[in-house]
Subunit: 357 residues, 2 copies
Amino acid sequence: MSLPRIAIDAMGGDEGVRVMVEGAALARRRHDKFQFLLVGDEARIARALEAHPNMRGASEILHCEDVVAGDELPSRALRRAKTTSMGLAVNAVKEGKAGAAVSAGNTGALMAMSKLALRTMPGIDRPALAALLPTLGDNDVIMLDLGANTEADARNLVQFAIMGAAYSRIVTGRDRPRVHLLNIGTEEIKGFDRLREAATQLQNATSLDLQFDGYVESDKINRGEVDVVVTDGFSGNIALKAIEGTARFVTDLLRNAFTSSLRSKIGFLVSRPATELLRHHLDPNNHNGAVFLGLNGVVVKSHGSANAKGVANAVAVAARLLEDNLTQRITHDLAELGEDRLRVAPGNSGATDEGSQ
Amino acid sequence: MSLPRIAIDAMGGDEGVRVMVEGAALARRRHDKFQFLLVGDEARIARALEAHPNMRGASEILHCEDVVAGDELPSRALRRAKTTSMGLAVNAVKEGKAGAAVSAGNTGALMAMSKLALRTMPGIDRPALAALLPTLGDNDVIMLDLGANTEADARNLVQFAIMGAAYSRIVTGRDRPRVHLLNIGTEEIKGFDRLREAATQLQNATSLDLQFDGYVESDKINRGEVDVVVTDGFSGNIALKAIEGTARFVTDLLRNAFTSSLRSKIGFLVSRPATELLRHHLDPNNHNGAVFLGLNGVVVKSHGSANAKGVANAVAVAARLLEDNLTQRITHDLAELGEDRLRVAPGNSGATDEGSQ
C-alpha cells in the first residue's frame, strides 16, 4: 500500500527548518515509503535538504514566508491560516494533498487551525490531544486530553475513551485496551458528577472494543497496568507536565550525584550501558508526537524542543495512524456506542440520557 | 519555651502502633522537648514503648479500642469521632490537651474530623492540605491544596496562597516567598476565570508578605524557582501523585538498569555513595507530613506507608508549626489582606469585588 505523503510545517519549533528536515530524513531512512510536503521558506528548506540526499525525489516544497510565533494567541494565528507554514500544512490535509500534517509550532494555534480546516468527525463533539508515555510494562500508555479542552463533560470523556482505545489498539495490538478515568483517591468529594456519569456510560457500553477498568490515580499511570488514561485537558496537562518535569528532575539529581566525586564518576563510567538504557527510556524524543484525535484528518504535534530523532518519531506516529486507518476505526466504534445506547432501558441511567443527546 | 505536647493517633497507617511509637521516639531523640499523648490500644502501645526508654516520662497513653479503617467513608468515620484513636487525637487539640495531632490514617476522615472539631479559622472559608516537595534549589516547595477541596474559587485560592506563604516563611526563612498559581500553558482557554481572578487579587494585595509571580506549569514545580504552588485539590492531588509516581518509576527503572548486568552491578557498587544521596533526596519519608492549613489547631497527616523516620518527620513538622505560631501568622496576614482590599478603588477590579464579599 502506498502511503499518503506527510505535510511538515518546516518553520515551527525551537530549532526550525534544519531539525524538521533532518527529522523527516531520519524517518525516511527507516521507511523509504515516506513522501513529504515541506512547507515554509523555500531557500532555507532547500539548503537544509542539501545534507539529505535520501530526501531527493521524496519531497516537494510548498513555499511561504509567514510563520506562527510560539507565543502567539491562537485567535490571532487563525487569521493567517492561509499564509503561514502551519496553516498551509494543515490545509494540505484538508485538500487531500497530504494524508497527515506534523508541526512543532504553537500547540493552541495548531489545534485552532486543525479544527477550523478539518472539522471534528461526525459523532465527536470535541477533538482531544493524546500522547504516548513510557511505562514499566510491555507497552506505552496513552493519555488524553492533554490540553485541547480545559473542561470535559461525561459525554466528552466517553468520546475521549473511544478515541484513545482506537489509538491504543493500533499501538499495543490489544483487542480491548484497558481504559481508566483519571481521578483522585478521596471519596465523597464534590465535582465528580461528570466522572461518575462517564464511568456509568463506559460500564454500560459493553460492545465497545475496550475494557473499562474504572478509575486510576496519577501515581499508577506508568506501572504498566493501564493502556488508556482519560481525563479533561486541564488535569491531563498537569499530569503530563508533572511526569515530564519529575523525570527531568530525577535525571538532573542523578547527574549531580554521579559527578559529585571522582569515585562516583568512575562508577558512572563503569555502569554507563545501564544508565544509557535509562536515558533512552526517559528521553522525551523517544515518545515525541502528540496526536489530535477526533478530526477528519491526522495532525501530529511535535514537541517544540524535540531533536531530529524526536521529529522522526512524530513523523512515524503520523504514518502509523494513516496506515492503520485511525479515523475509520473511531467512526466504527462510535457506531457501536450508538447501538449500545439503544440497548440501555430508558430511565435506567441519568448519565446515559445526557450521553445520548 | 516549652512545647505543647503532640497527640499521636497510634493506630492509623499501614504499619500501626509499632511504627507510630518508634517514629515519636525517633523525633524525641532529636529534640528531647517533645511530649506525647499516644492515643489507641493501651496494651499494644505499652508494649511498643518498651523498646524506647527515652519515651518514659515523655508520653501519656489515652486508651481507646475503636479505629478508623483506611477505606472507610469519612461521613461514616465522623460518627465515631468520640470513640476512635483518630477522633480522640484531634479532640485533644480542641480541648487543649495537646498542641497538635499527627495521624497516618484515612485522609478524608482526618480532614472531616479536624474540620468538625477545630473549625476553620476566622477569615478562612476552607482549609487546605499542604505538603513540602523536594526541588533542585536550596529549599523545598510547598504545594496546596492537595485534595481537601476538589474545587476552589478565586477567593479560596487567595486564602490558600496566604496560608502557603505563611508556612513557607517558616520553612524557607524567606520574608516574601515566591507564590505561583498552577496553570497550563495553553492560552485563550475556558474555565480559567477563577485563576485570573485569583491572580488579579494577589497582584493587588501588595502589603502581603509574599511575592506573587504569576502562573507556573507543573513541569517547573521542582526547579527551585518557586516557593509556594497554589491550586485546587483535584489538580494538586493529580500533580502530587504524578510527581510521586514518576519518582518511583524512574528509581525502579534505575534499579532495573543497575541490576541488568554484572558490569552495571559493579558500577552501582562503586557509585553507591552518589546513588544513596539520590535515594535520600527522593525518599518520601524525608518529606513526610502534610499539614491541614486554616484550622484552629495544627493537624498533620503522615503517609499511610511512612516508616519510623517518616513519622518522626511528620512529628517534627507539627512541632515546627507550633513553635513558629503558624496559626497566628495566618491570622495576621488575613488582616493585611483586609486592609489591601480597602485600598483598591471600587470598580477597579471585578475580581476584588468577589474577594471582598
